[in-house]
Amino acid sequence: MTGINAKAASVRFENVSKVYGTKVTAVDNISLEVRAGTLVTLLGPSGCGKTTTLRMIAGLEMATRGRIFIGEKDVTKLPATDRDVSMVFQSYALFPHMTVMENVSYGLKFSGFDKAETKDKALAGLGLVGLTGYGDRLPSELSGGQQQRVAVARALVLEPQVLLFDEPLSNLDAKLRRQVREEIREIQQNLGLTVVYVTHDQEEALAVSDEIVVMRNAAIAQKGTPRELYEAPADAFVADFIGEANLIPVDIVALDGDTATVRIADYTHRLPSRGLPQGPAKLAVRPSRMRLVAGVGDGVPAVIDKATYVGSRMEYTVTAAFGTVFAVLDDVTTPFRIGDAVTISFAASGPVLIPASQPS
């Protein structure tokens, strides 16, 4: 039986901009590289230019400036039809008048395969997404999750150099979302595909990516592996967008090689300086890296404002002199109550220093 193989190729953007009309700059001077066989996520809030970037890879939008390469080939001026790229749309865009089989065979028909090959490949594709036997149905006769998989199969069977996903899970419910994203990741890794994946959900991005590109206002805020982004966000925006970090204003009072000593109120804490100078800075601390102990101790005194029981853990809103922070604790047997006085301190690893002011 014919299998599905990958002809994965890299994608390179060189100073690419996209301007709609004369005023709206949707993508501003972006350079990035997606290595062959990796899954790279474009992550960012709505309207930051993710979809536009993706559509420029597909050839559905033409770059206003800059150059785009797929593999070693300059595709900047090539229309979508002539690029070896497939895309899975947010709305799936299954052709409603064609059966599942016809949908999946659609692109194969235009790629010079003969009938038998087309059928074999389409069947292989359906098998890969677990829909063997659904070939004769119409898209309207499938559930949302199944439709999504047909869309994936339709794109996969072309063995594209690059496979694109635009928020592929946003129409699915929470449970299905986890399952489908794991399937996508598995197929990508098994076949060694190059995938560019757009999402605004940081958890999804962390779970599936080899590399994440965080975008803000049409530009790249930071790129790196999920771990790098989570553990070493470049600035407050990234820290906040990935993992909803608490941003606490601090003072760097001493520098000792790579280690900085910071002061928050009367409490001092030592951690890697990440090249920051002495003076005001911000400390980014994930809610799960906050430590709370009852009463007065070594740390910053604070009061419990809100306490929420969410089953596996407790979520607290805590107010201290520097402001309000959010903390998550695993101890659900003896929770704090609203109004309790507590002392805040931080886990040894996790909190990171970032510059005080956001670069704009």
């Binding site: 050839g59 559905l60 039809t81 010079g112 119409l138």
Partner: protein
């Protein structure tokens, strides 16, 4: 696999057009040949006979040497064969060759006519030309198309529209045909309005003729007769307003009431659409004329003298209301249904009562529909020719005046042109008023997808009057149609009421003789001509309309607004005006097609194309754009996408366009009356001829037969086009 197609150097379509160019130039007769499709010319002296010779032969024997430069433009594209599309030379050569060839062909066609150069300055420049040329034929047409599409290949290769050959060619093709068959004749007609008696042009001469009292006089205010312009305007405004209100009443009963027999009502409202418009005028005469049923019985009852009151404004108004209310209804039913029920439900949950909901939500959302319905009624009334002719009496209107200026004893082209300019001014004015009234507000709810929920019923204060109007009007329509049917089977209306099939026999007799079947009925000629022309025009109209709609909804390109205006222009031009313009433009070279069947087909295509465009746009804007885009990323090119994805999903629009253009071609009269010839007579003009001879029985019998033929044709089309199965589950609760 896809990389293969990338490296391919010469597009097969390009090769096709290069070959076509040579075939047009070297093989096909360059000038028009009567009876081309009989191919008699092939054995009648071709290729050397002057009449049938291809351009290459003419030039070869030293005639029409002005055709020679095109050889250059035909040869140049051979250079690019084997070159890559990305090679700058490829684009440059194609643009230069196609552009030059096309421009030269047009220039020589316009510059050299039946009597040598067509303009003074050409003669002064080049001296007198002893040669002359006739209208272009298929050779010229094929070569011109080849030049056009070589040019569009060139600009596509330069990177226009992402290098998409299909889209650039489609745009180029539509612009070319609209220019030739809409702008060119209209321009000719406008020029004719400025023409002086001695063949020159004069702006000064235009004004006295334009402001003539026969056009703009206001004597009717003081007991005399008003100018035709005021008559037409008054009639059109009345018809526009009243058809809109009647159409709305029917639409409301169908969508917002518990009325049980909705299908019947729908059928009743659609019937007049497949009726030749003036047939209703005939029925009105049979009812209210001097010897009409109603007139005579009323006269007998009250002992008053029977009068001719129906001839004039009242008669035309009633006939046009009957004829055009269905058009308003069809526009309004779409809009009234399209108002999202959830908007109305939302209004109700916001504590608006039924009347307030109707007034504040439903009514404003129907505005575009009302404006469109009025505009259609207005234009149809302005352009209507049959009813004023039959019922006008002393009430002259523009369309009939234009006709008599052209065909009457006066034969005054410039007066016809001036009247046509007035008519065009009114309709374009109405067009702009409508745009202005609708403004830039968004009414997108009317084009969106249907959603769950039901329309609330009408408030009672509205419902009762609406019911009454609908009931009365339905009854009246039924009576009128009863009259038509009855009138076709009586010996002589009002004089001899014995039943007979004689009219049908006269019209549609078929005899068996020893030579086989003989169509001896007097109507067969015009009937078959009409069928052929309608069958040819319908698919072409639908094709051009839908391709234009595709370009307008799915592509962005410079000048799109102007493009849209151009394609919609012929919609605002009354048929009468088109008729005059075509006669003025296509009676002389370079395009000499008056008196042929071709001019009828072409006039139908461009008269009815806007409806295809509108239907296409309406359904295409309901297809999510991601469908095309995913097809493109899956490796289909834009032509394949159009064919495999868009067209199948557009079946309803295709059907609508086909049915509409077929029916219009069968029933139209206003443009047709100018364009028919002895050889190509159409049913409608034949019937009008019978009416003028007071042969009402035959006219009505023929019309009745047409109605049944159209019913059958519509059913057949529905079968042919078929349905696209897409399943009917909507997005509600799809997630498992």
């Amino acid at each position: 696999m896809r990389t293969v197609s990338l490296e391919q150097t010469t597009h097969p379509v390009l090769i096709f057009w290069i070959i076509a160019g040579w075939v047009g130039y070297c093989i096909l007769p360059w000038y028009g040949v009567e009876g081309f499709w009989s191919f008699e010319w092939l054995v009648d002296g071709w290729p050397l006979d002057d009449d049938y010779a291809p351009a290459a032969v003419l030039v070869g024997v030293g005639q029409k040497l002005w055709l020679a430069p095109m050889l250059l433009a035909l040869a140049a594209p051979l250079l690019v064969l084997g070159r890559r599309k990305t090679d700058p030379l490829y684009a440059q050569v194609l643009i230069a060759a196609g552009g030059f060839g096309f421009a030269w062909l047009v220039a020589q066609g316009l510059g050299i006519g039946l009597r040598g150069f067509t303009a003074e300055w050409l003669t002064t420049l080049f001296g007198t030309l002893d040669d002359r040329q006739f209208g272009m034929g298929y050779g010229a047409m094929v070569t011109a198309s080849a030049f056009l599409f070589l040019f569009t290949h060139g600009i596509a290769a330069r990177g226009a529209i992402n290098g998409d050959v299909f889209v650039t060619s489609a745009i180029g093709g539509v612009i070319a045909v609209v220019t030739i068959f809409v702008f060119f004749p209209i321009t000719k007609m406008l020029l004719a309005a400025f023409a002086t008696d001695d063949g020159g042009y004069s702006v000064l001469g235009f004004f006295p003729k334009f402001f003539d009292d026969r056009i703009w006089g206001l004597d009717c205010l003081s007991g005399g007769r008003c100018g035709v312009a005021w008559n037409s305007l008054l009639l059109a405004v009345l018809v526009g307003v009243l058809t809109t209100l009647l159409g709305l009443a029917f639409a409301l009963v169908l969508t917002r009431s518990g009325f049980r027999y909705k299908r019947l009502l729908r059928a009743l409202t659609v019937l007049p659409i497949i009726t030749p418009p003036f047939v209703i005028g005939l029925a009105i005469i049979l009812l209210f004329g001097l010897s009409g049923t109603v007139t005579t019985s009323l006269a007998a009852m009250f002992g008053v003298e029977a009068t001719r009151w129906i001839y004039g404004l009242p008669g035309i108004l009633i006939a046009q209301l009957l004829a055009f209310t269905p058009i308003a209804f069809l526009v309004l039913i779409g809009v009234v249904e399209g108002v999202s029920p959830s908007m109305e439900e939302a209004a109700q949950t916001l504590r608006a009562n039924r009347w307030q909901t109707f007034r504040t939500v439903s009514w404003p959302l129907m505005r575009p529909g009302l404006a469109n319905a009025f505009l259609l009624g207005f234009i149809e009334s302005m352009a209507d020719f049959g009813n004023p002719l039959v019922l006008g009496g002393n009430f002259d209107v523009l369309s009939t005046e234009i006709f008599f200026a052209i065909v009457g004893a006066q034969y005054d082209q410039s007066r016809a042109a001036i009247l046509a300019v007035v008519l065009l001014g009114f309709t374009l004015g109405a067009f702009y008023l409508q745009r202005f009234w609708l403004g830039r507000k968004s009414y997108t709810t009317v084009t969106g997808k249907g959603d769950a929920g039901v329309h609330p019923p009408m408030p009672n204060g509205l419902a009762y009057p609406v019911y009454a109007v609908v009931a009365l009007w339905s009854a009246f329509t039924l009576v009128v149609y009863g009259m038509i049917l009855y009138g076709s089977v009586v010996q002589l209306w009002g004089v001899d009421d014995t039943l007979t099939f004689k009219h049908y026999l006269t019209a549609f007799r078929i005899d068996w003789t020893e030579d086989g079947l003989r169509w001896t009925g007097s109507a067969w000629d015009s009937f078959w001509t009409t069928m052929t022309i309608a069958t040819l025009a319908a698919p072409l109209t639908a094709a051009i309309g839908l391709i234009t709609a595709y370009l307008l909804t799915r592509q962005t390109f410079a000048g799109k607004r102007a493009f849209e205006f151009g394609t919609m222009l012929s919609f605002a031009i009354p048929g009468t005006v088109i008729g005059v313009a075509y006669i003025l433009a296509f009676n002389v070279p370079p395009i000499e097609i008056t008196g042929t069947g071709l001019i009828l087909v072409i006039s139908f295509i461009f008269r009815n194309m806007p409806v295809g465009v509108r239907a296409g746009i309406a359904s295409m804007s309901q297809l999510d754009k991601s469908l095309d885009e995913s097809s493109l990323t899956l490796g289909a090119n834009s032509w394949q996408t159009f064919r495999a994805v868009i067209l199948p999903l557009l079946r309803p629009a295709i059907l609508a366009a086909l049915v509409y253009s077929f029916v219009r071609a069968m029933t139209a009269i206003s443009a047709v009356i100018f364009l028919v010839s002895a050889r190509y007579d159409m049913s409608t003009s034949y019937i009008i001829g019978r009416v003028e001879n007071n042969d009402y029985g035959l006219a009505i019998a023929y019309s009745t037969a047409l109605i049944f033929v159209m019913l059958a044709a519509v059913g057949l089309l529905q079968l042919l086009v078929g349905r696209t199965r897409i399943g009917r589950r909507t997005s509600h609760g799809e997630i498992h």
